[in-house]
Amino acid sequence: MMRFLLSVCLFLAFLLPNVSGSFALGEDGSNPVPPSIDFQRDIQPVLTRFGCNSGPCHGKQRGQNGFQLSLLGFDSDFDHNALTKQSRGRRISLTRPTASLLLSKPSGKSPHGGGVRLPVDSPGYKLLLDWINAGAPRSVPNTPELEKITVAPNEKTFGHGEQQQLKVTASYSDGSTRDVTGLTVFQSNETPISAVDEDGLVTAGQITGEAAIMARYAGNFSIFTASVPLPGETGQPASIAGDHPVDQLVSKTLVRLGLDSSEVAPDHKFLRRVYIDIIGRIPTLEEAQKFLDSDDSNKRGVLVDQLLANPEYAEHWANKWADLLRPNPYHVGIKATRNYDEWIREAFRKNQPYDEFVRELITAKGSTFRNGNATFFRNRRKPDELTTIVSQLFLGIRLECAKCHHHPFEVYGQKDFYSFAAYFAKVGRKGTGISAPISGSEEFIYNKNSGSVRHPLTNEVLSPKPIFGEAPEIPEGADPRDSLAAWMTSPDNHYFAQTMVNRIWTDLMKIGLVNPVDDLRATNPASNPELLKHLGDEFVSNKFDIKKLIRHIVLSKTYSLSSIPTDRNAVDNRYFSRHYRQRLRAEVLLDSVIQITQVPETFSAMAPNSRAKELWTHRIGSLFLDAYGRPDPNQDPPCERVSDPTVVQTLHLMNSENLFKKVTSDKGWAAELAKSDIAPAEIVKKMYLAIYSRYPNDKELDIGVNLYENEESDRRLISEDLMWALMNTPEFVFKD
C-alpha cells in the first residue's frame, strides 16, 4: 500500500497526492485506475492554488474578460456552471479536451492576461485534462467531504535562519486522508520573524518573536506557530516575579522567547502613567507632590482606587468609546448626537457593566431625542451596515468581506452574514429619517414585527442566526434583537469578553494582545493567547466590571515596568517585557496643556472651561486636536487616530498662536509665578512637578535657578520660556 501511494505521489507529483482508502487500485499496484475526479474536492484547489479565482483575476466581481469564478472557490456550483455552461462551452470542450480554454489559456497556448500558470507538462494541467476527459463532472457520487486540514508540525521553536517543511493533511468524512501540501496556500502574519514560501517551507528570520503561518486549503485553515527566541541564555524575568496572573503569563512567554524583563519604574513614572491612563490627564502639581511625598507602602494601590473613583475617569473612557460609536452630527442631527454622547458618558459615570451597556445599545428603542442609544439605529440604518459594525465592535469579527463573498481568512460566508443581518430586519423607524443637510428631526426606533433579509444570490429569506453557537429562540412577536443581545453578551461568548479586554489592554499598554485591536480570528492569533483568555475570564467573573479590569491590569508588575530596555529585551515590541513609550492622545495632551498654563481653551458648542475629553463631537473645531490626530469626522467610518509623532505636531506645539498665548497670558500660571515672591528654586520645582510630575534633580535645579539669577533676566519671560521648553520635550509629550 505504502509503495503504491508513493508511486501515485510521484506520478501526479504534488497535485493529486496521497489517496488512502477511497479509490480502487490497479491489480499490480503500478497501473492504477485513475481515481474519479470530483470538481469540488479536486479541481477547485488547483484553481485556488494557482490564483485563477483570486481577487485580482477571475475571482473579482464581474470576473476577468467575462469569465468569473467565485472568490477563492467558495461556490462550487457557480464555478462549475461558469466553466461548463457559459461561453457556449468553449471553456471546456469534451470533444477536443486540449482545445478547452481552461487548458489553452493558462498553459499559454492562447493569449492569457494572467500569463502562463499551468504549463502543458505540469501536474495541474494533467489533472484538469483528466477531469475533462472524464466528462468534467460536477461531482462524483459518494465523494467524501472534506472535514478538516491539519498542518504538521503545528509549532516549532527555531534558531535564526532555521527551516522547517510543513505538511498539510486533509481528512475526509469517510476517514480517508490526503497529503495536500502542494495545493495549500501558505501565508505568514510576520514575515520578518518567519517567512513561508509557496511550497510550505518555513524559514526563521533574524528577528525574535512568534509568527503564525496560515495554511489554507479548500476553505479550511490550520495554523503553524513559529517561535524564534533570542539566541543566548537568560534567566527568569525577575522584575515581574510574583503571583499576579498577568505577570505569570507574561513571564511564560518571555521565558519561551529568551527575553528579560526591564526594572520596575520609579514612582513618578507610575504616577504619571495611571493619571494619563485612568483619568486622561497628567497629575497637577499638588497631586504629584502628595503622591511622591507619601510613605504609604501601598500608595500605588490607593492611588489607583482614587483615580477610578474620580469623575474624570468617566469622561476619559467615554471619549474613547465615542471614537467608536460617535456619529457625524451632519448625518443624524445635533440633538440625536448630543443625546447619544450623553448616554455613553452616563454609562461610564455609573460604571455600567459592559454586557449591560452593549445589551442596551443593541436593543435600543424609542425617541432619538430622549434615548441616546436609539441614535445608534438612526446612524446605521440597514441590517447589513449594522451587522458589520456590531460584529466588529463587540465581537472582534470582521464580517465585511462576507457581505459580498466568502471571507478569505475565515469560515464565514454570505449566508452567515445575512442570517446575522436578519436580527436587524425588524428594526422599525418612525418620524423623520435622514434629511440632508442637517437631519435635525426626531425619530423613533421600535420593533415593527415585520421585515426580512434575503440572501443576495439565492433570494432565500433567512431567519436570524448567530455567526457561531446557539442563540435563544425568538418568541412570537418578540424583538429578535433581544435574542441577539443575549447571545452576544453571554459569559460563554469568549469573543465578546476578549474583544473588550483587548481594547482595554491596548489602551493601557500601547500594543494589543491582538492587532488590529478588533480582528480576533484563528489566523491572527494573540501574541499571548493564555493572557488574553485569562483577562477575558477575569472580566466575565467580575460581571463585566470595566474598572475592576483596569485595576487588575495596572496593579500588575508588568504594567509598572520601566520603558528602558535591557540587553535582552530591546528587540521586544509586543511581548510586554518593558513598557512601551506612547505619545499622549490628542485630548490628553491638550487637557494637560490647559492644566499647566491655567488658561482654558474656548470650544464652540461647549460650556466655558470644558475639557477636550468632554467634547461631544469631533466637529467642534480645534487645530490642536486635528494636528494630534483625532479621528476625521468627515470619514465614515472615521479614519483611525494618528498616534505617531509628526512634524506638524512639533510645529504646532512650538509655534501655534494659541499655545503662545496660553503660555504668555497675563492670566496664566507663568505670569502668576513671576508676579509672586516665590524663590526661583521653588518656581523650578513647581514647574517640574506640574509638567514632568517629578522633582528636578540637582543639576536641573541649578540650571533653572541660574536662569532666574542672571542679572538681565526677566522673571516673567524666564517662567514662560521654561514652561515652553519643558512642554516641548519627549518627557512631556510621551507616556513613558
Binding site: G55, P56, Q61, G113, E190, P192, G205, Q206, I207, C404, P456, I564, P565, A570, V571, N573, R574, R581, Q582, R583, L623, D626, A627, G629, D632, N634, Q635, D636, C639, V642, D644, P645, T646, V647, V648, T650, L651, H652, M654, N655, S656, E657, F660, K661, T664, E700, I703, L707, D721, L722, W724, A725, L726, N728, T729, P730, E731, V733, F734, D736
Partner: protein
C-alpha cells in the same frame, strides 16, 4: 471589492483621505518601523548604490486620485462601439498621427514637449491596492480593499527625500494639500514622510500654518528657547534601533521643524502673493492651479519631490458631465506648469508626471460612469530629458488592455528613480535589518531615458 450595491460608500471611502498628514497606516504591524537608524541606512545605501547620472533635480507628481479615465484624456478610441468610445471626440495634437481626447486642448498643442505612456498595466483594481502599486512600485503584499490606506514599501517621494536629504531647511518631500494613500515612508522612517501643506494657496490669507513664528515672538527669544529646550530635555533615548524608541522620531521632527522655521528659502517659496497676477491667472485661480504654482516655487527652492494630490477622479457615474468641467482646468494648469518651467529654464531638470492608480473600464456603465480598470491607463511625463512627442506603447483597438510594449508599475517607478539619479536596483534595509530591493524589476522605460 467594488460593487454596484455599495457604490456610494465606496466613492466616499475612495476619495476620502484624511486631511491630516497620517504618517503611516498599515495592515501589517507597524511596530518597529517607526524609526530608522538614518545614518546607517544612508551609509548602507551609499555603499551599495553607485550614483547614476542625475537628469532631474526635482519631480512634480500630479496624482489624480481615484483612477482617471484613459479614454477621455490621452487614449481616445474613436473607432470603438458607442458604449465604449463615449461622448467625447478625439482631437489632433502637435504630433502628427497622435490624438488626445477633446478637452486636452492645451496639452495637445504642446504634445511635442510631453510623452504619454499608454501601456502600463497591473493587477490591482482596488484604490488602496492600486495607489500602493503605482505610488511605491511594489505590489501590496496582501489583498487590499478600496477604502484602505496601506503602506508596505516606501513611496517614490519618500525615497527621493531619503536619497537627497532636505536642502535649505525645506523638507525634501511635499504633499499638497494632503498625503496621497501609500505616499508615506514606511520603513525609511517618519523623517521621510511628506510635509503636508493643507492651507489653500488660492486664498488671500494663505500662510503655512505654524511654520511662521507666532506674532509677538522675536527671533532671538525663539533662539533662547531652542537652547533651553535642549538643556532641559533629559529623557534617556534608547540606542538599540530595534527598540523603536518613538522619542527619537520626535527628535527628528524637532530638527526638521527648526530647519523649516529658520529657512529663508522656505519663507520665500511659500510667499505665493509675490507672484505676478498674470502668472497666477495663467495657472488658473483654482486651488489646484495655485497649488501647481506653489509646486513650481518649491522646485525653484530646490525641493526634490512634490506631490500635487487632486482627488475626485473615481467616476463611477456621470463621468462626462464631470470631465467636461474638470478636464479643461487640469489641462490648462498642467500645460501652464510645463510651459512655465520651460520658460524659466527649469524643465530640463524637472520631471513632471501625471497619473492615477489605474484607468477605467471600456464599457460605460448604466450610471454613465466607468469603473476601475487596471489593464490600461495613461501616464503623462515631461521634462528631465523625456523625449517630447513620444507615445510609448498602445492599448488594443477598444482600449481594453495594454497590448504593445506592455509595462509594469515597476518599470514606471524605475523610470522616475533613474531620472532622479537613484538606483532602483539598490538594496535598502528595514530597521529589523531585512533587505528590500527598492524596485524588484529595475528596468526603466527605455524610450524615455533619452
Amino acid at each position: 471589492m467594488a460593487s454596484n450595491k455599495n457604490h456610494s460608500s465606496l466613492s466616499r471611502n475612495c476619495n476620502g483621505i484624511t486631511r491630516r498628514n497620517c504618517l503611516q497606516f498599515g495592515l501589517t504591524a507597524a511596530i518597529g518601523a517607526g524609526f530608522t537608524d538614518l545614518l546607517k541606512l544612508r551609509s548602507d545605501a551609499g555603499e551599495k548604490a553607485a550614483h547614476l547620472p542625475v537628469k532631474a533635480k526635482s519631480c512634480i507628481l500630479i496624482w489624480l486620485d481615484g483612477g482617471p479615465t484613459h479614454y477621455e484624456t490621452f487614449d481616445p478610441k474613436p473607432n470603438a462601439p458607442t458604449e465604449i468610445r463615449g461622448e467625447f471626440f478625439p482631437i489632433a495634437t502637435k504630433v502628427p498621427g497622435v490624438q488626445f481626447s477633446e478637452h486636452m486642448t492645451k496639452l495637445a498643442e504642446m504634445a511635442d514637449k510631453i510623452s504619454i505612456v499608454r501601456s502600463i498595466r497591473h493587477n490591482q483594481g482596488n484604490h488602496g491596492a492600486g495607489n500602493h502599486y503605482m505610488m511605491t512600485g511594489a505590489p501590496p503584499r496582501i489583498p487590499v480593499g478600496c477604502g484602505a490606506f496601506v503602506s508596505f514599501h516606501p513611496s517614490l517621494g519618500a525615497v527621493a527625500a531619503h536619497d537627497r536629504g532636505h536642502q535649505n531647511g525645506l523638507p525634501a518631500y511635499f504633499s499638497i494639500p494632503s498625503m496621497s494613500r501609500s505616499g508615506g515612508p514606511n520603513f525609511l522612517g517618519a523623517k521621510y514622510a511628506p510635509f503636508v501643506v493643507p492651507d489653500n494657496p488660492n486664498s488671500s490669507s494663505f500662510r503655512v500654518r505654524d511654520v511662521a513664528l507666532p506674532r509677538g515672538l522675536k527671533d532671538d527669544r525663539f533662539a533662547n528657547r531652542k537652547d533651553l529646550r535642549t538643556i532641559v530635555d533629559q529623557l534617556p533615548r534608547f540606542e538599540n534601533k530595534a527598540s523603536a524608541d518613538p522619542a527619537r522620531s520626535l527628535d527628528e521632527n524637532y530638527t526638521q521643524s527648526y530647519d523649516l522655521i529658520s529657512s529663508p528659502a522656505a519663507q520665500k517659496a511659500f510667499d505665493i502673493s509675490s507672484e505676478e497676477d498674470a502668472v497666477r491667472d495663467r495657472y488658473g485661480r483654482t486651488s489646484f492651479g495655485q497649488r501647481a504654482l506653489l509646486g513650481r516655487r518649491l522646485v525653484e527652492a530646490g525641493v526634490p519631490f512634490i506631490t500635487l494630490y487632486e482627488g475626485g477622479w473615481d467616476h463611477h457615474s456621470d463621468l462626462f458631465k464631470t470631465c467636461k468641467k474638470r478636464l479643461p482646468e487640469v489641462d490648462n494648469t498642467v500645460a501652464t506648469l510645463i510651459q512655465d518651467l520651460e520658460e524659466r529654464g527649469l524643465l530640463d531638470e524637472t520631471l513632471v508626471v501625471m497619473l492615477g492608480e489605474f484607468g477605467r473600464t471600456p464599457k460605460i456603465n448604466e450610471r454613465g460612469g466607468r469603473d476601475h480598470w487596471a489593464n490600461a491607463m495613461s501616464v503623462l511625463m515631461a521634462g528631465a530629458g523625456i523625449p517630447g512627442g513620444t507615445i510609448v506603447g498602445a492599448t488594443d483597438r477598444q482600449g481594453y488592455s495594454a497590448v504593445d510594449r506592455v509595462l509594469s508599475p515597476e518599470n514606471f517607478a524605475s523610470t522616475i528613480y533613474r531620472k532622479l539619479g537613484i538606483d532602483p536596483n539598490q538594496l535598502l534595509y528595514t530597521p529589523q535589518g531585512r533587505p528590500a530591493h527598492l524596485v524588484s524589476d529595475p528596468t526603466p522605460i527605455t524610450e524615455l531615458m533619452g
